[in-house]
């Protein structure tokens, strides 16, 4: 199961921001890319993807525009805004701090 609740709260936002920082993509491409880059470990359901994207858009972190896609149809492409980049840096830093702390705890020697 790969319900959004399986991801740590707020992680999905971080992943999406990061992927869009690399290049503007449409929703379907994002879902494929997510699987690829996380080496199939992180499975984000298609269902939770779109609400998350719409939320980021409303926050002003990503913006959407309609462009012809590779199959010559109109598709909605998302890209990072200036505000989104700042948010990405902020959340990435937070994540690093958090994961470092958790790894540190896990590595403690058991008595």
């Amino acid at each position: 199961m790969s319900k959004p609740s399986d991801l740590v709260q707020g992680t999905l936002d971080l992943l999406l921001l990061k992927i869009l920082a690399l290049e503007p993509l449409n929703g379907f491409a994002i879902s494929i890319r997510l699987k690829q880059v996380s080496r199939e470990i992180l499975q984000v359901s298609d269902g939770s993807l779109y609400p998350a994207l719409h939320k980021l858009e409303q926050e002003g972190w990503i913006k959407a525009e309609w462009r012809p896609s590779e199959n010559n149809r109109r598709a909605k492409f998302y890209s990072l805004t200036r505000l989104g980049r700042r948010q990405l840096n902020l959340e990435a830093a937070n994540w690093n701090r958090l994961s470092a702390a958790i790894s540190h705890v896990i590595k403690l020697e058991e008595v």
Binding site: N26, G27, F28, S31, S45, D46, G47, S48, Y50, P51, H54, K55, E57, Q58, E59, G60, K63, W66, R73, R74, A75, K76, T81, L83
Partner: protein, 896 residues
């Protein structure tokens, strides 16, 4: 999440777009997700699935297309507003779908809220709206009272001067007294209501004149008048009697045959003193300085208590603090002037002073209209409860489709808001005509009542009532909703009647509430009705029918002889008119509120002034008692021979005879009322007659001792009331009297032309008004509560028709069933009755000042209410009970 300003740059356009380009967004959302599904389907097909399987898998990955769409919409953050609109539209649609329910509910709420709006607009005008002066909260009324009785009296001019000198709580104090003036030299003479004021009254009230000026300080000085006195006109008088003359300031007019100079015109909005009659002219108190030429000026006598005082408090000085100071000053003055009567003191905010005796009545009515609304709410709530039961399936399906509980509750509340605001709209329409109706019914003597209208404060009140209503209505269905079990409801919701015990308990509570509120209103109405009927059955002491009276405004410069001749000739002329059986004149016409108090000495005891008892002084012409049919118990009436040259005489009423001549014959004994008109000192008078007491001061007050003196032995009392008994219509008689008066002196206007029955009906106008309104409210509430009880019992019978069928099949008698159902109704009504009776006791205590001749715990009223309610409850439950006995056992069992 807290938004940062720079983020708003991005978000605000988004939100606006979300709100106003909704369709485009929907289309885009749809397109985006469809695109996704197609690509995903292709992906699965490439992996070898059949087109159908591929499509299903793609859909499954989305995990509910509609749910996801809704989540995307929620992400827009405007869904609250959007949902509201949606719910609103849906609510309206639901109401359109069941027009019978909608019309009933909206009308019921319209009536309930409308009654509240109408009454509140009266309360607002009389009790709440600030007085039309700058900083009105600083205005206070200084009421001088008779220390012995606490009864309000006036103050004297010397008192006023001392107060003004000594008091520190006020920015200023001013005095005034109301008086009519005959305005002549402007066509037909008219009598205008006027006030004589001290010069500082206008600066104190701080309303600037629209033309000219206020009085100069020296213009109210006694003696300083010298030349012509000055007068200020009301806007209305300026328009009506001076044709809006633009050069009015400086013009001369004749008031009571004396010359006055007009110095100003006040704006149309200005009124002072605020009372039932509009004041048209203001003069200064200096006019009184030359009243009664040759005698001591009224303004110089400390014992003449005839002025009223108003003051402007210094900022931050409270009414209570001012009262403490004034009481100290007044009691010091009492010590210094022991011969001028001991006075007391009350200080009240001017607004409270004005609304004083109508406050309780209005609050009772407002409370009653609130009860009516509550009952309407409770009744509608039961209706909604039934609807909610019928809609359980709908709710369950919504819930299954992903609507959260908050969302469902919001939808229900919005539906109720639709109802409540539709009701409020109807209410405003009803209230507009309701206010007109109230104003026509309402007693005329309630200050500021005529200004009742729907203003912003009333609108606010109505909206608040509507919101309250929506919440009250929503409570029951929402409570029920919170127990909604989705699967149960979907399964057996089709039958729509698996209401549990909690549900029927709620319904019962609503019925009990309605019943108890109706009982409270019935008790209030019953007590007021009893009071009114006791008031109306008070023995007046005279026959009020076929009596017409009016007053003549005597010019100040008329000599006593002229006055006497005028009255006697007018009376004689009227007496000889066809259709008039007798005519006379009196100063204090019963029920007209025109009474003089006087202290007196009896039997030459030489009681010191300060200790003398007091009585009403009345001044009458011969044949007065005969005209009013007041029985002459002993002795004789006044005659034409009772003149200043003859023996001073008096007639007393039997109340005075009982109290001061107990067990002895008062005829031939002496009484000396403290009034000297026509004599050097108050004459000692021989009692020549005893008459039956009459309700001179109104119906509520028991008759006081009263002493009558002949007009010919007490000249110069101002305007007398001419009274005549006639079979003809009052209108034609008054027209005839006017022409007769004009023939005698065309500068003397007649005024206050009324029948005695009109005075009588005015004296019960307030209680009648209260009975009518409270009675209507009580009647409405009983009907609505009965309908509520009927509905609840019918519902429970319908619910239990299966059970009834089984009982009947098992051999229960139809009578048992009848008794059982009736018992249920009676029990609900009984509980309501008990609660209502207890609450009614509290209400009755609150309104005891409105009652007359009936105790607040009047057992008769309470018993009557109980019996009435029991009958109504039996009737309301009888019909459903009979239906219950007619259940066909076979039918009931089959349909389970």
């Amino acid at each position: 999440m807290r938004l940062r300003p720079e983020q708003w740059l991005y978000t605000i356009p988004h939100r606006l777009r979300s709100l106003f380009r909704r369709n485009q967004l929907e289309q885009e959302l749809d397109e985006e997700l469809r695109d996704h599904l197609e690509r995903k389907t292709q992906l699965y097909m490439a992996a070898g699935l059949s087109p159908d399987e591929a499509r299903h898998s793609a859909l499954r990955d989305l995990d509910g297309l509609e749910l996801r769409k809704e989540q995307c919409r929620d992400a827009r953050r405007v869904h609250v507003v959007e949902n509201l609109f949606q719910d609103f539209r849906f609510g309206l649609r639901m109401l359109r779908k069941s027009p019978a329910f909608a019309v009933t509910a909206i009308l019921m709420l319209g009536l309930g809220i409308g009654a509240n709006t109408a009454i509140f607009s009266v309360v607002n005008a009389v009790l709440l709206r600030p007085l039309p002066f700058p900083s009105p909260q600083q205005l206070a009324r200084l009421e001088s009272t008779v220390a012995a009785t606490g009864q309000p009296g006036g103050l004297s001019y010397p008192d006023f001067l001392d107060w003004r000198k000594q008091a520190t709580a006020f920015q200023s104090i001013a005095v005034f007294s109301q008086r009519g003036f005959a305005l002549s030299g402007v066509g037909t003479p008219v009598r205008l209501e006027g006030a004589m004021v001290s010069a500082d009254l206008f600066p104190l009230l701080a309303v600037p004149p629209e033309q000219g000026r206020w009085f100069h300080a020296e213009e109210d000085q006694p003696g300083a008048a010298g030349g012509a006195d000055t007068v200020i006109l009301s806007h209305r008088a300026w328009q009506q009697y001076f044709q809006s003359d633009p050069m009015i300031v400086g013009r001369h007019v004749q008031l009571d045959h004396a010359d006055f100079t007009i110095v100003g015109v006040m704006p149309a909005t200005f009124q002072f003193p605020i009372g039932p009659e509009a004041i048209d002219i203001w003069t200064t108190v200096a006019v009184d300085a030359r009243t009664n030429a040759g005698q001591k000026s009224m303004l110089a006598q400390r014992g003449v208590h005839y002025l009223s005082a108003v003051a402007r408090l210094k900022p931050a000085v409270s009414v209570a603090a001012a009262e403490t100071e004034m009481r100290r000053i007044v009691s010091a003055l009492n010590e210094q002037n022991p011969n001028d009567g001991r006075r007391g003191m009350n200080v009240a905010a001017e607004r409270d002073h004005l609304s004083g005796d109508v406050r309780t009545g209005l609050l009772v009515l407002l409370g009653a209209s609130g009860c009516v609304l509550l009952i309407a709410c409770a009744n509608l709530a039961s209706l909604l409860l039934s609807r909610a039961t019928a809609r359980r399936r709908e709710m369950a399906i919504r819930s299954a489709l992903g609507a959260g509980r908050r969302r469902l509750i919001q939808q229900l509340l919005v539906e109720n808001l639709c109802l409540a605001f539709a009701g409020a709209a109807v209410a405003l329409l009803l209230a507009r005509s309701g206010i007109q109706f109230l104003l026509q019914l309402a007693p005329l003597d309630v200050p500021r009542l005529q200004q009742a209208a729907i203003d912003s404060r009333v609108l606010l009140f109505t909206s608040a009532a509507a919101v309250f209503t929506a919440l009250a209505l929503g409570l029951a269905p929402v409570l029920q909703l919170s127990r909604l079990q989705v699967m149960d409801a979907v399964k057996d919701g089709a039958r729509g009647q698996s209401a549990g015990a909690a549900h029927s308990r709620l319904r019962s509570l609503l019925v009990i509430g309605q019943m108890s509120l109706a009982v409270v209103l019935l008790i209030g109405a019953g007590l007021l009705l009893q009071s009114l009927s006791r008031l109306l059955s008070v023995n007046l002491g005279f026959r009020s029918d076929h009596l017409v009276s009016f007053r003549a405004n005597m010019p100040e410069n008329y000599s006593d002889a002229q006055q006497e001749r005028f009255y006697q000739q007018l009376e004689a002329g009227l007496r000889n008119s066809p259709g008039v059986s007798s005519a006379s004149a009196v100063f204090g016409l019963p029920l007209s509120g025109n009474m003089l108090g006087v202290s007196f000495d009896v039997d030459d005891r030489n009681i010191p002034d300060a200790e003398q008892p007091s009585a009403n002084l009345n001044i009458a012409e011969p044949r007065y008692f005969q005209t009013l049919r007041i029985p002459l118990l002993k002795g004789r009436d006044f005659t034409a021979r009772d003149t200043l040259a003859g023996l001073p005489v008096a007639i007393i009423n039997d109340a005075l005879a009982r109290q001061y001549f107990p067990g002895s014959d008062p005829i031939g004994r002496h009484i000396r009322p403290g009034v000297a008109n026509g004599y050097k000192t108050p004459p000692n008078r021989v009692i020549v007659g005893v008459v039956r007491e009459v309700q001179s001061e109104g119906l509520r007050e028991p008759p006081s001792p009263e002493v009558y003196v002949p007009m010919t032995q007490c000249p110069h009392v101002g305007s007398m009331a001419i009274v005549l008994r006639t079979e003809l219509s009052p209108l034609s008689i008054i027209a005839g009297a006017r022409s007769q008066a004009a023939a005698l002196d065309k500068t003397v206007p007649l005024f206050n032309a009324k029948t005695l029955d009109e005075y009588l009906s005015a004296s019960v106008a307030q209680p009648r008004f209260q009975v009518l309104l409270l009675g209507t409210f009580a009647l409405l509430s009983v009907i609505v509560a009965a309908v509520g009880l009927y509905g609840a019992i019918s519902y429970s019978v319908a619910q239990r028709s299966h059970e009834m069928g089984i009982r009947l099949a098992l051999g229960a008698q139809r009578q048992d069933i009848l008794r059982k159902v009736l018992g249920q109704g009676v029990m609900l009504a009984g509980l309501g009755l008990l609660i209502g009776l207890a609450a009614g006791l509290a209400l009755a205590r609150f309104m005891s000042s409105l009652l007359f001749g009936v105790s607040a715990q009047d057992p008769q009223t309470f018993a009557a209410v109980a019996v009435l309610l029991a009958l109504v409850a039996l009737l309301a439950s009888y019909f459903p009970a009979r239906r219950a006995t007619q259940v066909d056992p076979v039918y009931a069992l089959r349909h389970e």
